[in-house]
């Protein structure tokens, strides 16, 4: 019998397998359970059409953007323009826009969590207040005028994103039947602000400038003469016109490729790479749990001198995420650090007070002295190049960009910057894909949106 006792260890081994498997399952359940539950076929959270069946999304002023009607159907509130312009922050009913609130914040909307399960989720769900102002979104979407692109404005002190549109969008209550085929809607499921990267063009000069200010001591006493094209290395870096003699302030206002190309070569690839990384352009931010896209650059040793010069003015292989760029603008205005953007203002559960939302700061993206100088020069841009008339009563600093994206296509138009205004400490970014001149096209969009934003402040 003792032999049997010894041999029965085999049964213990089997029992051990069951226990080990059970521990593994509990681990998976804890780690992936929330993902399992947020499947469109989960009838505790989604209705028969696979649409999130509880939760209301509101804008910062309490205007309802989407909710569930008495029959349990999800409805979007407001007119077509409101619904279209807020589509990417609210999300489409079928979860195709994964960064929209209905997908990304589904748990906050239904109140589902792994501990208490989905119990009570069908009872209407929670009220989720976004930080955006639906009116501003509408203005911004109209301002884009049917072009593809993105517009965002945020408060660099609190992190609240006031305006976020991505175009093309569509009306979630009347989803176009040709959504998947029509070229007009290409990339409609994408939130360009959060999930895309684009060639930055001249807006990247703000990074090259920051590097030059710190690494080249006599920068501000230097002058350059631009004749419209500059031989750098084997090739030529061209400007739109000959800018003549200029110092660094004027070179930035003129957006002179020759000057910044030479500076880039003088600084070297390693230094530029370091400053691009420090500026946060190569890292991903978490916006209430939504990860933004990372930008990328090629400054390596194998890059030719001419290409390095082009990379220094935001061309070559440079690509930048609009959100990261906007945060960098916030940091320039705010003495080196900005608040990390957020989209959720508060969540109201039935009868329960909402948890306070905390503001997180970025790490130092630019040293504070440099930030001050760059900010001053960017405000100079507006006065000397972009024109204060277009931006009345704004203490605006900005930089335009006209990013070449290929021989057959019109360049991307960028306009990005900040307001130095205690009441309205806003940073913004405007990108119009294939829009043409940055200062003209994107600048006009920015002008309309900023005016509207300041009206809201009163």
């Amino acid at each position: 019998m003792k032999k049997l006792e010894r041999r029965a260890l085999l049964c213990l081994v089997l029992a051990g397998c069951l226990l080990a498997g059970l521990v593994l399952f509990v681990g998976l359940w804890a780690v992936r359970g929330e993902h399992w539950a947020s499947s469109a076929f989960n009838r505790h959270l989604y209705n028969k059409q696979g649409i999130l069946m509880s939760g209301t999304v509101l804008d910062r002023n309490g205007e309802i953007l989407t909710t569930v009607d008495e029959d349990g159907n999800r409805v979007y509130v407001g007119d077509k323009a409101r619904r279209t312009s807020t589509l990417h922050v609210v999300g489409d009913p079928y979860g195709n826009i994964s960064t929209g609130a209905l997908s990304a914040f589904a748990q906050k909307l239904t109140g589902y969590n792994l501990i208490f399960g989905a119990f009570g989720a069908e009872q209407g769900g929670n009220n989720l207040y976004l930080t955006i102002d639906a009116h501003l979104n509408e203005v911004a979407y109209q301002a884009l005028g049917g072009k593809k692109g993105t517009v965002a404005v945020y408060n660099y002190k609190t992190g609240e994103i006031l305006c976020l549109v991505s175009a093309p969008a569509y009306d979630p209550m009347n989803i176009p039947s040709d959504l998947e085929e029509n070229e007009k809607y290409e990339g409609a499921y994408l939130n360009r602000f959060l999930s895309s990267t684009f060639t930055p063009g001249s807006v990247f000069k703000t990074v090259t400038l920051a590097a030059a200010l710190e690494e080249i001591p006599d920068l501000e006493s230097r002058t350059w003469t631009c004749e419209g094209s500059t031989q750098i290395g084997e090739g030529v870096v061209t400007c739109i016109s000959a800018h003549g003699e200029q110092d660094i302030r004027e070179a930035l206002a003129n957006s002179c490729n020759g000057v910044f190309g030479q500076l880039a070569v003088e600084l070297g690839g390693d230094t530029l790479e370091r400053y691009a990384e420090k500026a946060g352009l190569t890292s991903s931010y978490s916006i209430n749990g939504i990860s933004t896209a990372k930008g990328s650059f090629s400054f390596g040793d194998d890059v030719s001198t001419t290409d390095l010069a082009w990379a220094g003015v935001g061309q070559y292989h440079d690509s930048v995420n609009p959100c990261a760029l906007m945060i960098y603008m916030g940091a320039i205005a705010n003495g080196g650090k900005a608040a990390v953007p957020c989209l959720i203002q508060k969540v109201e559960s039935q009868g329960l007070p909402s948890l306070p939302q905390f503001t997180r700061k970025t790490k130092t993206l630019i040293s504070s002295d440099t930030a001050e100088t760059v900010a001053e020069m960017m405000m100079n841009n507006v006065q000397t190049a972009y024109g204060t008339k277009r931006f009345p009563n704004m203490e605006l600093g900005a930089k335009s960009g006209t990013a070449e994206v290929g021989p057959e296509e019109k360049p991307h138009a960028w306009f990005t910057g900040f307001l130095k205004n205690e009441e309205a400490p806003y940073a913004f970014v405007v990108l119009v894909e294939n829009g043409g001149s940055g200062a003209d096209v994107a600048g006009t969009v920015a002008s309309k949106v900023l005016k509207a934003a300041l009206e809201q402040v009163g």
């Binding site: 032999k3 049964c11 069951l18 059970l22 399952f25 589902y112 989905a118």
Partner: protein
């Protein structure tokens, strides 16, 4: 016919009206009881677990062998190996004693006999050499390799002391657990009743019939003198979950499920009483082997296909899965007594029988049950032979055969193709697993409330995916407790080895425990995509008459290994009323 009984229209209409007026109260009932259930389950089960897994136990004692230099060795089993080996039950560490020298066996009648195992030093009883085996009386002198031992009963005083010690270590009283389980059943019945009157009618009241059956069983058995009810408490708890899942998924089949449970109970009692007499068992082993193979063969010939495997026999209104019942006969035939352990031929016969069973199951393409039979085979064969090398070879052969089949008939395994990648095939072969996982995560720790899930509407939810339903409707805590219950049954079987009287019930208990474990693994991990989904049942819990009967039947093997004082009806009286010559 039943439907009209369980849907009395005027009463239902009146009930409906009452419920309609108290919507909020009903919501609160569900919201609260879902927290009560896990607490009750913990209290019910932890008490039973504690009773079964208590490690310190005094073995039974049937006599002693007095050594020449003073002192004595107690005889704790009915089958004892005498020898020099460290694993001998009665260890005589003398150079003249062989490693396995002789076997000392107590027969059902209480008479003892000694069998020489071809030792070098020889065995003598009262000076006469033992050829083969010889009877041994109390007071006889047993000489093993020249060592003189006196075979004596325990003194009355020693016996009394032993008895009182064993009594103090006896089974834990299950009255509190049974009372709590009754409350659990009532709360569940109410929840299921008010949850969906339209669909379930008065069927949830069947749960109360289960309560009655449970108490009837316990009171009768208690009246007959057995005191250990931990195993049954666990089984009744799991059966309660089974009825609840059935009520949620297919309310009308709950009556069938209860009938199956009663049949299973009867099977348990009959088999348990049958197992008291080990001599009878030996005679019936051929019959049992024949029954196991016969049942499977009959299924191959008559079987009909449901959900991919053709393992159903349908006779008029009755349909059942003979492979479930065959498990019991298989263990019965496979487990062997000690005297057979030394003969290799028996193992070969057992292998042939296993091969026949596996072929039948493969023919039905019931690979889940085939794996269960194979795992059970390994456990029995290893316990019988201790031969790791041969069994490794067999395992290797099985893997090789699997690879061959995969090579030549890959389509057989196509329905397992999405194993581990269920989410990538969420609308095809991973459909059931992804639904089960999603539902399992929706329940949280305490569940959505019994009957309040949606997984129940998916095909095979109450059988193959039952773990998902448990997680969804009862919560992770209760689902885990259900699996732990099976684990405890297996641990109890393993621990019972030390206390076992003879080899047969010990091997059978280990085999039954392991079978439960393997089946639970295939069911639970299959539904959660950790193993291929093979469509086997969760013991006691899955909806299915044959499975329910088989689970309760297999429990008899565990009862037969429960040698705690006065614990089990499947064990001959113990010290209390030993019959025959041992202590006369």
């Amino acid at each position: 016919m039943l439907d009209s009984l369980f849907f009395p229209q005027p009463l239902l209409a009146a009930l409906e009206e009452v419920l309609e007026q108290n919507q909020t109260a009903l919501w609160w009932y569900t919201a609260l009881v879902r927290f009560v259930f896990p607490i009750l389950a913990l209290l019910i089960l932890l008490r039973a677990f504690r009773g079964l897994l208590r490690l310190r136990r005094t073995p039974e004692c049937w006599g002693q062998l007095a050594l020449p230099g003073g002192g004595s060795i107690p005889i704790c089993h009915w089958e004892n190996i005498l020898g020099r080996a460290p694993l001998a039950d009665i260890r005589l560490d003398f150079p003249t004693v062989s490693r396995q020298h002789a076997v000392l066996v107590r027969e059902e009648s209480g008479a003892w006999k000694v069998t020489d195992l071809g030792s070098k030093g020889g065995t003598l009883v009262n000076g006469a050499a033992v050829e083969g085996s010889a009877p041994l009386q109390m007071g006889d002198t047993l000489s093993v390799g020249g060592i003189e031992l006196l075979f004596l009963p325990l003194s009355q005083e020693e016996e009394k002391k032993l008895l009182s010690r064993r009594r103090s270590e006896g089974p834990v009283s299950m009255w509190p657990s049974l009372l709590l389980l009754t409350l659990f059943q009532i709360l569940a019945a109410v929840q299921l009743l008010i949850g969906n009157l339209e669909e379930r009618g008065l069927y949830p009241l069947v749960m109360l019939a289960l309560t009655a059956v449970m108490w009837l069983y316990v009171l009768i058995m208690r009246g007959l003198g057995s005191r250990g009810f931990e195993l049954e408490t666990i089984a009744f708890f799991l059966s309660t979950l089974s009825l609840a899942v059935t009520l949620s998924s297919a309310p009308a089949s709950v009556v069938k499920q209860l009938v199956a449970l009663v049949l299973g109970l009867i099977f348990l009692v009959v088999l348990g009483i049958w197992l008291r007499d080990t001599a009878r068992i030996q005679k019936l082993r051929w019959l049992m082997a024949g029954l196991a193979i016969g049942l499977l063969l009959a299924t191959v010939v008559l079987g009909q296909t449901k959900y991919g495997a053709s393992n159903w026999i349908i006779l008029g209104p009755f349909s059942f899965q003979p492979s479930e019942i065959a498990k019991i006969f298989y263990i019965f035939a496979g487990a062997a007594g000690l005297e057979r352990l030394f003969r290799r031929r028996n193992l070969w016969l057992f292998m042939v029988m296993t091969g026949a069973c596996l072929l039948c199951l493969a023919k039905m393409s019931d690979f889940g049950t085939a794996s269960i039979f194979f795992a059970t085979f390994l456990v029995i064969a290893y316990l019988r032979s201790g031969d790791f090398a041969t069994l490794s070879l067999i395992c290797g052969g099985a893997v090789f055969a699997g690879v061959l089949i995969l090579q030549f008939k890959p389509y057989i395994f196509r329905r397992f193709a999405s194993w581990g990648h269920a989410w990538e095939a969420a609308s095809s072969t991973g459909y059931q697993q992804t639904r089960a996982m999603s539902a399992a995560a929706s329940g949280g720790l305490v569940g959505m409330g019994p009957g309040e899930g949606w997984l129940k509407n998916i095909a095979a939810a109450d059988t193959d995916l039952v773990f998902g339903v448990l997680c969804e409707e009862w919560g992770l805590i209760i689902a885990l407790l259900a699996v732990l219950s099976i684990l405890v049954l297996a641990l109890f079987a393993t621990w019972a080895c030390r206390m076992g009287r003879c080899a047969f019930p010990t091997i059978a208990a280990c085999a039954a425990g392991s079978l439960f474990v393997v089946q639970t693994m295939l069911n639970v991990f299959g539904a959660m995509d950790l193993l291929p989904l093979t469509g086997v049942t969760f013991p006691f819990v899955s909806n299915g008459g044959s499975a329910m009967i088989a689970s309760w039947g297999l429990l008899a093997f565990l009862k037969a290994a429960d040698t705690r004082e006065r614990a089990s009806f499947a064990i001959e009286g113990g010290l209390r009323k030993g019959k025959g010559g041992a202590r006369t």
